[in-house]
Amino acid sequence: MIPVSHILFLSATLFFIGMYGFVTRKNLITMLMALELMLNSVNINFVAFNKYLYPGKLDGIFFTIFIIAVAAAEAAVAISIIINLYRMHKTIDVGAATELKH
């Protein structure tokens, strides 16, 4: 029997791998991928909690489903922005995307 904490370790590690990627990558697409990893690690947590701690309920499952839906939408929007950015600056380097500053 695997204790729930092991699954949590797994998800935490995955989360920080994602975080590392998010922080170190310069390319917007790879940053997006790191983000996906982080979202997935959260999903693992939700499912694990639901299964091991509150098997009678469905909250964790639903969170997972919604997160997946939102992630899909987010990925779509992000990709459209990235492509847009690419059209404007001919690059998708994160350093170029500083319009937010203004």
């Binding site: 940053m31 500083t98 319009e99």
Partner: protein, 642 residues
């Protein structure tokens, strides 16, 4: 107490003169302003005289004393139950006497100014200021309330300020007016605090009530005032001394005298009225008014005595060395007020012992006449010579015979030569001081001799010494200038014969003034000697004065420079107050207080700039902040606040 309704008008008429001429005079009757002023003052003087007649002769003595009468009184401002400023008119022998003195001298000055100030652009303004002064001074003398006196005291001060600075385009006049007001204001600070103390312990501001409360040895107020002490001195002594400080400022007692000589920058008739006859004796009057308290409190009376005595001698010495005739007169005034002051200092409260009090008031009375005469005479001289300096004068007796005669009368009066007025009053003072102690008497005698010397030095320098060879042609003034001189000369010669003790005495009971023939010989001889020395030195041009000055050496130089009092004051104000208090506080305000406020603002700005730097637009940096924040929250909530 009926029959005194007219006293209200004594005060009110000069006030009308002030308001009327001040508001409308300049525009509508600049030329006739003088006549209006004179007319109103004439009425005032007549009323004062009538009032004196009414008080002393018609109502007269009741059970052997002159009563204190509240002719008029209403509550002006209530501070707390019992303590209120009342506006009132208090009639007692000294106030009735002062009413006469002030209004008649003021009238003389009003008349004299008709000629003296003729053609002046601000003629009406001048008369309105005179009206203000007269009103304030009359209000001061009839005050029934300590605070009322303080108010009129201030008003007198401000009218003096305005009149000294009347020639406002002369920087020296402006400086003098400023100095006069600030020095007396500083003294008034003491007066004010003294009033607060007396009011607190006396439980009232009314003169009679305060005196009643604080002079009864058994009363709770007296006990409270004498048991409370600060620096080992009782509260009562503190209060009285502080009040005396106010009086000393106004009366130009050492060391608060520095303003008086400079005040001579004002028009000469003003000097005659304010800085010789009336305002400067207000300090004496104040002490006389509170005399029962001073007499009971030995320490403060001692201060009055010593300050008065020292000033009398000090000023007389300086007067011998000055060359500006108005300054000589100013120092002589200081010296004479010193006489009055120490006469109060040697007085007791009852009967014969109260001789000093009577003598002081008597001297105040006679001095008002001969000193204003001296000033007006000097004014007449200055008016035609256009200079204040002795060296520009000399030999004027041929040109101005009338002025010469009246000046001589006044000089004899102040020198104490019988039968002129000064003789009688000075005799009484000397007698009173002889009764007190020998050294007081000695100093008083020396001062008296010096007085004769410097007055005749002045007299000979102006009227004899040499033939007049100035550019202008001195001549006698118009009638308006002659009449006051004549009237005052007659008064100076004759008022000494008034049996003053019958009217004014410390316990309001008439007293016989005993005349000691033997006793009066010594002072008269001294006076004559003084005159003779002056005669030798100044009648003809010679080099005796120079050799005399050389003989005294540095002492002469010090006296000539007024013992460097002005320099001392200048040092204190300029170098200490301005440099070490004023400038640092201005600096402190701009740099430290305001600076810290600005720093707070700057800090906000800087912080916002720093935070703005965080808003870099770099997503990854935001992510780091985000994770850092979460880590912080986790640590905070899971580990620290568990």
């Amino acid at each position: 107490m009926g029959g005194y309704e007219h006293t209200f008008w004594i005060l009110f008429l000069p006030a009308i003169s002030f308001v009327l001429l001040g508001l409308l005079g300049r525009k509508y009757f600049n030329k006739s302003a003088g006549l209006i002023g004179v007319f109103l003052l004439l009425l005032t003087t007549a009323l004062s005289l009538y009032n004196a007649y009414q008080y002393f002769f018609v109502n007269g003595l009741v059970d052997g004393v002159y009563l204190k009468i509240d002719a008029f009184k209403f509550t002006w401002l209530t501070f707390s139950p019992g303590v209120s400023i009342d506006m009132g008119i208090l009639l007692d022998p000294i106030s009735v006497m002062m009413l006469v003195v002030v209004s008649s001298v003021s009238l003389m000055v009003h008349i004299f100014s008709l000629g003296y100030m003729k053609g002046e652009e601000r003629f009406a303004t001048y008369y309105s200021f005179l009206g203000l002064f007269t009103f304030a001074m009359l209000g001061l003398v009839v005050s029934s309330n300590l605070f009322q006196m303080y108010m009129f005291w201030e008003l007198v001060g401000i009218s003096s300020y305005l009149l000294i600075g009347f020639y406002f385009q002369r920087p020296s006049a402006v400086a003098a007016s400023k100095k006069a007001f600030i020095v007396t204001r500083f003294a008034d600070l003491g007066f004010l605090i003294g009033i607060l103390m007396l009011a607190f312990y006396g439980g009232s501001l009314d003169f009679n009530t305060i005196i009643q409360h604080l002079s009864a040895h058994q009363s709770s107020e007296y006990l409270a005032a004498t048991t409370a002490s600060f620096l080992g001195v009782t509260a009562l002594t503190w209060g009285l001394t502080l009040v005396f400080m106010g009086g000393a400022g106004k009366s130009a007692m050492f060391p608060l005298h520095v303003w008086l000589p400079d005040a001579m920058e004002g028009p000469t008739p003003v000097s005659a009225l304010i800085h010789a006859a009336t305002m400067v004796v207000a300090g004496v009057y104040l002490v006389a008014r509170l005399f029962p308290l001073y007499a009971l409190n030995g320490a403060s009376l001692e201060i009055v005595l010593n300050v008065g005595l020292f000033t009398a001698l000090f000023a007389a010495i300086i007067a011998c060395t000055q060359t500006d005739i108005k300054r000589v007169l100013a120092y002589s005034t200081m010296s004479q007020i010193g006489f009055m002051m120490f006469a109060l200092g040697v007085s007791g409260t009852q009967g014969e012992q109260g001789l000093g009090y009577t003598a002081s008031m008597f001297h105040l009375f006679t001095h008002a006449f001969f000193k204003s005469l001296l000033f007006l005479g000097a004014g007449a001289v200055i008016h035609f010579v256009h200079s204040n300096e002795m060296k520009d004068m000399g030999g004027l007796r041929k040109w101005m015979p009338l002025t010469h005669v009246v000046f001589l009368v006044a000089c004899l009066a102040i020198a104490g030569i019988p039968p002129f007025a000064g003789f009688f009053s000075k005799e009484e003072i000397l007698l009173a001081s002889y009764n007190k102690s020998l050294w007081v008497y000695t100093i008083a005698l020396i001062t008296s001799g010096l007085t004769a010397f410097y007055m005749f030095r002045l007299y000979f320098s102006i009227f004899w010494r040499k033939e007049y060879n100035g550019h202008s042609h001195p001549q006698e003034g118009s009638m308006s200038m002659k009449i006051p001189l004549i009237i005052l000369a007659i008064c100076s010669a004759l008022v000494g014969f008034i049996p003053f003790g019958k009217f004014v005495s410390v316990d309001s009971q008439p007293q016989e003034t005993h005349f000691h023939l033997m006793f009066s010989i010594l002072p008269v001889i001294l006076g004559v000697v003084g005159i003779l020395i002056a005669l030798l030195m100044y009648k003809k041009e010679n080099d005796r004065p120079q050799s005399m000055a050389k003989a005294f050496g540095s002492f002469y130089r010090a006296a000539k420079n007024k013992f460097y009092m002005d320099e001392l004051y200048l040092f204190v104000t300029k170098n200490i107050i301005f440099k070490w208090v004023g400038r640092p506080s201005a600096w402190f305000d701009r740099k430290v207080v305001d600076g810290s406020m600005n720093e707070i603002a700057n800090l906000t700005l800087e912080t916002s700039k720093a935070i703005k730097g965080m808003q870099s637009g770099k997503i990854q940096r935001y992510a780091m902040y985000f994770f850092g924040g979460i880590a912080f929250l986790i640590i905070l909530f899971v580990y620290i606040l568990k």
